[in-house]
């Protein structure tokens, strides 16, 4: 019987709770997360408001719940963008001639050298601050990670006997990529996706904090942190709750990525 992988379990549970919280927020939150109620502003945590209320009188727990949607949405789309561009690029780089591969990978390195947050801020300045801009920018910034990892995996697959056989049998490159290479790098894609997801969550929070991400009043953990700055002395809980939420989410996705890597990495097989 295989030993349970603690990273995988812990990561899976944390991510599961966040996904569940986001799903529940579509049908139920304790209060309307965007409803301003001046009479209830800056209430301390109590039975009626577990995490208290912010300066607009909005329930912090409801905002954390709805904010998880933004977090997951940004993560999914950003990772989706990165995977859709990065995976084909990686496979292509592994299959084409040496000089074409070099061109792809050096262009990839160029993008890798560009700070992701700066890229996102540039996008925000040009196209206007929005969740969509943040998602696309974070996604593009995550492309190099995918391309590099997938290329290395694809290169190994390209040297396997079944691919050599397929090529000898006259299979064209496209079917080889789809039928042989892609299925064999799926585990790499999964691991890279979960790691990139954690980065995307943190990047979205940073962008919203800086005013280049999700515009108000849509709840976002990063913007909740930003709005809490005025109250760091008088009501520090307003910074603590979203801060802890971000930390837990990032931790969850990192642990999940770690666990998945352990599970899929053949070199670690003997340790399991």
């Amino acid at each position: 019987m295989k030993r349970l992988n603690p990273s995988l379990v812990a990561g899976g549970v944390i991510v599961g709770v966040i996904v569940l919280m986001a799903l529940v927020s579509f049908v139920w939150t304790p209060y309307d997360a965007t409803l301003v109620t001046p009479a209830s502003r800056l209430l301390k945590p109590s039975w009626s408001h577990w995490f208290g209320t912010d300066k607009f009188g909005r329930d912090v727990l409801s905002q954390i719940m709805v904010g998880s949607r933004t977090t997951l949405f940004v993560g999914v789309v950003a990772v989706g963008v990165a995977a859709v561009i990065g995976v084909p690029l990686g496979i292509l780089a592994a299959m084409v001639r040496r000089w074409s591969s070099e061109v792809i990978m050096r262009a990839n390195d160029l993008l890798l050298a560009f700070p992701a947050l700066l890229l996102a801020i540039m996008f925000g300045a040009v196209f206007g601050a929005s969740t969509l801009t943040a998602m696309v920018a974070i996604g593009i910034a995550s492309v190099p990670g995918f391309a590099r990892v997938i290329r290395s995996g694809a290169l190994q697959v390209m040297r396997t006997e079944y691919v050599l056989a397929a090529r000898a049998a006259g299979r064209r490159p496209w079917p080889i990529a789809v039928r042989h290479v892609l299925p064999n790098v799926t585990s790499l894609i999964t691991v890279q996706a979960s790691v990139s997801f954690a980065i995307a969550v943190l990047a979205e929070a940073a962008l919203s904090f800086l005013g280049y991400g999700t515009p108000p009043p849509t709840p976002s953990w990063g913007r909740m942190l930003q709005e809490s700055q005025e109250f760091l002395f008088s009501a520090p809980r307003l910074a603590i709750f979203p801060g802890v939420a971000i930390a837990i989410a990032v931790l969850g996705f990192n642990l999940l990525g770690d666990g998945l890597r352990d599970r899929f990495d053949p070199k670690l097989e003997d340790r399991r």
């Binding site: 603690p6 990273s7 300066k55 607009f56 206007g128 940073a206 005025e230 008088s234 990192n254 352990d262």
Partner: protein, 505 residues
């Protein structure tokens, strides 16, 4: 073993990243006060929020430019004192003809521009004429009433108006009245040349503007040899900059909730006064949805102004109900014209057919606008409207999209120009408010005697409020926080200028 180490490492990285995020609020610059020794080479650093888009207020709108340059680099013939009274500046005295159409100014003969040229009546003629020929901002219309400006001698200027105007002399205290040198207007956007107590020195874009004392100034020389104006986009960073001695003065507090950290600390002084800054929820009156007065009135009635002020500006500021601050002679409390009445707002929206419609609220990235915008959205949605918030980078994107192209339904901005009722509410301005009755009151106020001016301006303010041409959320307070030993800070901010020359230590 390895796995638990990995968990700890990942947890550490995640926590460190969040802590780094939360720490991002601190101010970053290190320049500032030069020490405590008294004397003429002392330096001061002032924190402000809105950086100018350019240094040329003849072609670029925005209050940040005159706030920086007027009275400090450029001077006017006459200026307002702290009580709002018009007093001499570059003009020692002036007389007005019996028909109230001819003004004769006696000018000081010792003033010099920072390019070395002496200030004469010819410069005044050039400056007045240039408003009509070279200025492009809408405020230049205040000079249309001038039919002729003539230099009677190097120190005597005569200005003839086409008709009597109460407003003209007052406008001469604003940026319209700034005196330029004919040989000093070639690079206004980057190299302003004036007669004032300070000279422009350096602009680190996105960060600060440095002014140095004009040692050849004709009047009383300022105390500080150098004053740095540092611009902060983030209200908390501005507060933190004072707490960490990066700056000595917060020119305008934008995070009033955090004011208690200064009031409870004996190292600082807190000044609270009044301003001209009407925070306006502006309507694009050219849009079909705003053509119906019931929609406009409903929006005003849907907003609980007291709750809004408490929520987005910590209850500081004043509710005014129209476009007149309490320091103007024709101020009346008009908050009773559109009292908070959610049920009536709902029925008005139903009657006008606006219920359920989506309005685009395009906000500048200014702290008070972002805060108030969220409250406005929530309150209007309770009345049955849908509100979509867009944030536009201030000043560039907001000035182009909202101010210049009027591509918006509603916006929020503080109008800090003095006596700006007529300038803000007309068909050419971004409010696109075309109201002949209002224009009639304004014309009568301008042409009549002092009593007629007050009477007609009151009617104009009431008309605006009754017609719900916009909604006046509140009047910004003048909240200044500074090191305890800084003197000469303004109690009220009722002019366009932040007077640096009176500051001392």
């Amino acid at each position: 073993m390895k796995s638990s180490f990995r968990i700890r490492a990942v947890a550490f990285v995640a926590t460190a990243a969040v802590l780094a995020l939360t720490a991002c609020s601190a101010g970053s610059s290190t320049s500032g006060s030069s020490g405590s020794s008294p004397g003429g080479d002392q330096k001061l650093s002032i924190g402000l929020v809105a950086e100018p888009a350019s240094l040329d207020f003849t072609t670029t709108d925005g209050a940040a430019i005159p706030q920086l340059l007027l009275g400090n680099v450029y001077e006017t013939l006459v200026k307002q004192d702290d009580s709002g009274k018009i007093v001499p500046s570059l003009a020692k005295s002036w007389t007005v003809s019996a028909d109230r159409k001819t003004y004769t100014f006696d000018l000081v003969d010792t003033a010099k521009f920072t390019n070395g040229k002496p200030f004469t009546a010819n410069d005044a003629v050039f400056s007045i004429n240039r408003v009509k020929t070279a200025w492009t901002i809408s405020l230049k219309a205040a000079m249309d009433v001038v039919s002729q400006a003539k230099a009677l001698s190097p120190t005597q200027l005569q200005v003839t108006l086409a008709k009597p105007s109460n407003d003209w002399l007052f406008r001469m205290t604003t940026r319209i009245g700034a005196m330029f040198s004919e040989s000093g207007v070639s690079a206004l956007a980057t190299d302003p040349v004036g007669t004032g107590p300070f000279k422009f020195s350096k602009w680190n874009r996105g960060d600060s503007i440095v002014m140095v004392r004009n040692d050849d100034y004709w009047g009383t020389k300022p105390f500080f040899q150098q004053i740095t104006l540092k611009y902060f986009k983030d209200a908390t960073a501005l507060n933190n900059a004072l707490l960490t001695s990066t700056i000595n003065v917060i020119g305008t507090v934008q995070a009033p909730e955090a004011l208690s950290q200064f009031t409870s600390n004996t190292k600082y002084q807190v000044i609270e006064g009044t301003t001209n800054g009407e925070v306006l929820l502006s309507f694009n009156n050219s849009r079909p949805v705003f053509k119906d007065i019931r929609t406009r009135q409903a929006i005003r009635m849907a907003i609980d102004h007291k709750a809004l002020l408490d929520t987005c500006f910590a209850g500081r500021g004043k509710l005014i109900g129209s476009m007149v601050p309490p320091t103007d002679p024709w101020y009346e409390d008009l908050t009773g014209i559109a009292p908070y009445d959610l049920a009536k707002a709902k029925s008005l929206l139903q009657a006008s057919g606006a219920a359920g419609k989506t309005l685009r609220l395009r906000l500048p990235t200014l702290p008070y606008a972002t805060s108030c915008g969220q409250v406005v959205k929530s309150m209007l949605e309770q009345a049955g409207l849908k509100v979509q918030i867009d944030q536009l980078e201030f000043p560039a994107a907001w000035l182009t999209t909202v101010f210049k192209n009027a591509d918006y339904d509603m916006s929020i901005i503080a109008h800090v120009e003095p006596r700006d009722l007529g300038a803000v509410f007309n068909a050419k301005y971004y409010t696109r408010y075309d109201d002949p009755t209002l224009q009639g009151y304004l014309a009568a106020a301008d042409a009549g005697d002092e009593a007629a001016q007050v009477d007609n301006m009151k009617k104009a303010a009431r008309r605006l409020s009754e017609q719900a041409a916009g909604d006046w959320l509140f009047l910004l307070p003048n909240l200044v926080v500074a090191d305890k030993n800084i003197k000469g800070l303004p109690q009220n901010a009722i002019t366009e200028s932040f007077d640096l020359s009176k500051l001392a230590r």
